[in-house]
């Protein structure tokens, strides 16, 4: 690329945590004005690397150069002073403060050194928001009242409120709808024309192709490839670098015949005011039904209502023809429903606990005699369930927080497998799961269906719904606008359906 000295050079960065070498001699160079993409599976060392770059971790070894001169980033403040800003995946905003207060947190414009000049802060925040293409966000509003996408914009405004030369974005598109992603890319484009460098982390290869200049691939704490051209490197090569093997196909084959039998789950006229209306749905054993739609189309709400976590305003749900008490998770679980929720860490996992306990939590009474847990039986059953899903590592005693995203998802699936659940509700099953592990997860889901489970799948990634489901329900603004076998649909058609009339 450019012959001038790079903005940032990291070389031989090594960082160990007790028992784990997270980074093992990583090199990275970033030019001013480029979008440098960082790719790698979960646990490959991306997070550690950007934390080193943000001054949050100190490397054990290696050097960092900034505009040709060696520097030490001994604290996040030191990094910020150089002009390095980081937008983390889990946004670090204070919900109880206003937009302007969040943007200027820690460097408030003041009079006499301590009196916050609120008006000045709001004015400069408004200017930043305008520059980011979101003049509609009121700097005086509380951040907690904003949508996830708007919060992301605020987070970006905060980064830009410093004199920034390098922005690190950790999966910024994960919570965004397609048109919001477009806006994000526009902003990234603007920034790079101004000479700001962007380190962009994403799981979505197509995004990297769209905006990336160069790609560095991390695997097992090493940079296995540095500075590949983002647009022209073949996907198979990138995937091979990330996984260390070639992924030939992603989605498993569908069974040739539609599974016979009576529906196990029947939903009639299900509604929740303001969220979705008159949903009808049949789900047979062995069948995977997908719900496709934009963020806000009511997908997750439908799953949670069927599962009893929300109370419907109208409609009925029955399992095996028997009506299910609405608004009761326990009734749903007893009837054989299981949910793998969208926010695994917040809604499904006991992060301090072992895999075993996470798997057995819904079936404890099976191993208990008079409340007394037979831990041997519990461990054995948990092991059998996790083995069946090839959960790694093959030791259910490890804390669940040490697992990768894909394996954490498998732990959730194992929970329902162990419970003997018959209807599996999957909400964004591959969120935060890297490419290599996705294929395996898809295969697992398909296998569970082949073994007689009924699966209801929600995903914001249309190809995932189309590739995995037998039948697809397309949602727009809380209503089913189209139902068809997956083979009869393609991504364009679905996007047309979900966006029709919205613009």
């Amino acid at each position: 690329m450019a012959p001038e000295p790079p903005l940032l050079t990291m070389s031989g960065i090594t960082k160990s945590f007790p028992g784990v070498r997270a980074l093992d001699g990583v090199d990275l160079d970033v030019q001013a004005g480029e979008v440098h993409c960082l790719l790698g599976q979960n646990g490959a060392g991306k997070s550690t690397l950007i934390k080193v770059l943000a001054g949050a971790h100190q490397p054990d070894d290696g050097t960092i150069g900034w505009r040709g001169a060696p520097v030490t980033l001994k604290s996040p403040i030191a990094a910020m002073r150089l002009g390095i800003a980081t937008i983390y995946q889990e946004l670090d905003l204070v919900e109880g403060l206003s937009v302007a207060e969040n943007v200027h947190l820690g460097h408030e414009p003041t009079s006499a050194g301590f009196v916050v000049r609120g008006k000045a802060a709001r004015a400069s925040t408004a200017a930043l928001l305008k520059r980011l293409g979101h003049p509609e966000i009121d700097p005086a509003r509380l951040v907690g009242e904003l949508s996830a996408a708007q919060q992301q914009i605020v987070s970006m405004a905060r980064a830009l409120s410093h004199d920034v030369r390098l922005i690190v974005m950790d999966e910024p598109s994960a919570a965004l709808d397609p048109d919001e992603v477009d806006n994000l890319f526009r902003i990234v484009g603007d920034l790079t024309t101004e000479g700001v460098a962007v380190v962009y982390i994403s799981h979505r290869l197509e995004e990297i192709r769209r905006i990336g200049d160069r790609v560095t691939v991390l695997k097992d704490g090493r940079a296995v490839a540095g500075g590949l051209p983002a647009k022209s490197t073949p996907t198979s090569e990138v995937v091979a670098l990330m996984t260390g093997r070639n992924v030939e196909y992603v989605f498993p084959d569908r069974p040739s015949t539609r599974p016979p039998g009576e529906p196990v789950l029947t939903v009639q006229g299900l509604s929740r005011e303001g969220e979705f209306e008159s949903l009808d749905l049949d789900l047979r054993p062995g069948e995977i039904v997908g719900l496709a739609g934009l963020v806000g189309s009511g997908r997750s709400e439908i799953l949670e209502t069927i599962y009893g976590a929300r109370k419907p305003t109208a409609g009925r749900i029955s399992v095996d023809g028997r009506p299910l008490r609405p608004g009761s998770v326990r009734a749903a679980v007893r009837a054989g429903l299981g949910l793998a929720p969208e926010e695994r860490k917040a809604q499904a996992l006991l992060m301090l606990e072992s895999v075993t306990r996470n798997v057995s939590v819904s079936s404890m009474s099976r191993f208990a005699h008079g409340g007394w847990i037979d831990r041997r039986a519990e461990r054995g059953a948990a092991r059998a369930a996790t083995r069946e899903l090839s959960l790694r590592p093959d030791n259910p005693s490890v804390p669940v927080r040490t697992l990768s995203g894909g394996n954490q998802q498998k732990a959730v699936l194992a929970r329902w497998l162990l419970r003997g659940c018959r209807v599996l509700l999957l909400d964004e099953p591959t969120r935060g799961v890297d490419v290599g592990a996705r294929a395996e997860l898809y295969a697992v889901i398909r296998r569970l269906a082949d073994e007689g489970l009924a699966v209801l799948l929600v995903s914001s990634e249309v190809p995932e719904v189309l590739g995995l489901a037998d039948r697809v329900l397309v949602l727009r603004e809380g209503r089913v606008v189209h139902t068809a076998p997956a083979q009869e649909l393609d991504e364009h058609r679905v996007l047309d359906l979900v966006m029709e009339g919205t613009s």
């Binding site: 784990v20 976590a309 819904s362 590592p393």
Partner: protein, 340 residues
């Protein structure tokens, strides 16, 4: 089935480098041990200090009996508190419930029903208060801090109303006898026996039963527990009931110990119990609880008080030392925790 893990397959997992399952399981076990060991270390250090400063008085069977007896009442309360904190809650009303139970159980009217009447009343009042706490928190959707703060105020007020500020003397011989040396079983005071039994049962419930698992699950992630099919509200109700039950038992022990009921009983037990549970290693935010740690925490505090009293140091110094120990213990724990 705790056989070692099969070798990790390449290309699949998360964490790089050597620690596969077995190793990190060992570090987990080791870490749990480190926490308990550090508490045992503190206790051992205290014993050395006590033994050096007052060899005759401190290293004496009678003193061991004394320390354990003094630890029994607050110890039983702390076991209940440990459950509540593990579930992500807090019970500020324990001291007030102990006071109310102890005075209700020692009114002239109650004492007419004899030993059983006093015991039954103490336990029933404790459970009743716990029930109110539990209903308010689980089904009234009140924050535990507020609900139990309200209970603290009301129970203290009711205790004052019942006693009219007067000390109620126990006249039942069977109860008084239990606090005296003749009742010691193989040298163990009955109070200490009760404390030991409550501790063992508490440990078993927390570590070996579905109730304990649900407690941890609710504390670790209430939403996940709910979506996993656990009845979170009922669990919360039971937990405050359990805490109330422990308070009732503790009140009975206090009646035996002091031979009386007084509305000032159980003064600041809530803080002592919370402090003991926290330095023991129970997470104030919930999701992890240790009965062993809590009991060690109680013993550490009681031993400090004992050493200070034997050395004739005054209460100001005792309080300063107590504060310092809390800070030190939490700092040590943070260090062990951050090596994760």
């Amino acid at each position: 089935m705790t056989q070692p893990a099969s070798p990790p397959r390449p290309g699949e997992t998360l964490k790089t480098s050597p620690p596969d399952g077995i190793a990190s399981w060992r570090t987990l076990a080791a870490r749990a041990d480190v926490r308990t060991l550090s508490l045992l270390g503190v206790l051992a250090a205290l014993i050395v200090i006590g033994g050096i400063t007052k060899p005759d008085e401190f290293l004496d069977t009678r003193n061991l009996q004394l320390v354990l007896t003094q630890a029994s009442v607050i110890g039983v309360v702390t076991v209940g508190m440990t459950f509540v904190i593990t579930s992500g809650g807090i019970d500020l009303s324990v001291g007030a419930i102990v006071a109310l139970s102890s005075v209700w159980a020692t009114t002239v009217a109650t004492q007419e029903y004899g030993f059983a009447g006093v015991l039954f009343t103490a336990v029933l009042v404790g459970v009743g208060c716990g029930l109110v706490n539990g209903l308010l928190i689980a089904y009234g959707a009140m924050v535990p801090f507020i609900a139990t703060l309200a209970m603290l105020a009301s129970a203290r007020g009711l205790a004052l109303q019942i006693t009219d500020g007067k000390t109620q003397i126990v006249t039942i011989d069977g109860i008084l006898k239990l606090g005296e040396r003749d009742s010691y079983v193989l040298g163990i005071p009955p109070l200490v026996l009760v404390f030991a039994v409550v501790t063992v049962i508490g440990w078993l419930i927390l570590n070996r039963t579905t109730f304990g698992r649900r407690t941890v699950a609710v504390g670790g992630n209430a939403e996940a527990a709910r979506l996993a099919g656990i009845d979170v509200r009922r669990q919360r109700l039971y937990l405050y009931l359990l805490s109330g039950l422990c308070c009732g038992i503790a009140a009975f022990l206090l009646i035996i110990l002091s031979g009386s009921g007084q509305n000032t009983n159980g003064n600041l037990y809530e803080l002592d119990a919370i402090a003991a549970a926290i330095i023991g290693g129970t997470l104030l935010s919930g999701g992890r609880g240790t009965i062993t740690g809590s009991v060690l925490g109680v013993l550490i505090f009681t031993t400090i008080t004992n050493i200070f009293a034997l050395n004739n140091l005054q209460s100001d110094v005792q309080q300063i030392a107590k504060g310092a120990i809390i800070v030190a213990a939490v700092l040590v724990q943070r260090r062990t925790a951050s090596t994760t």
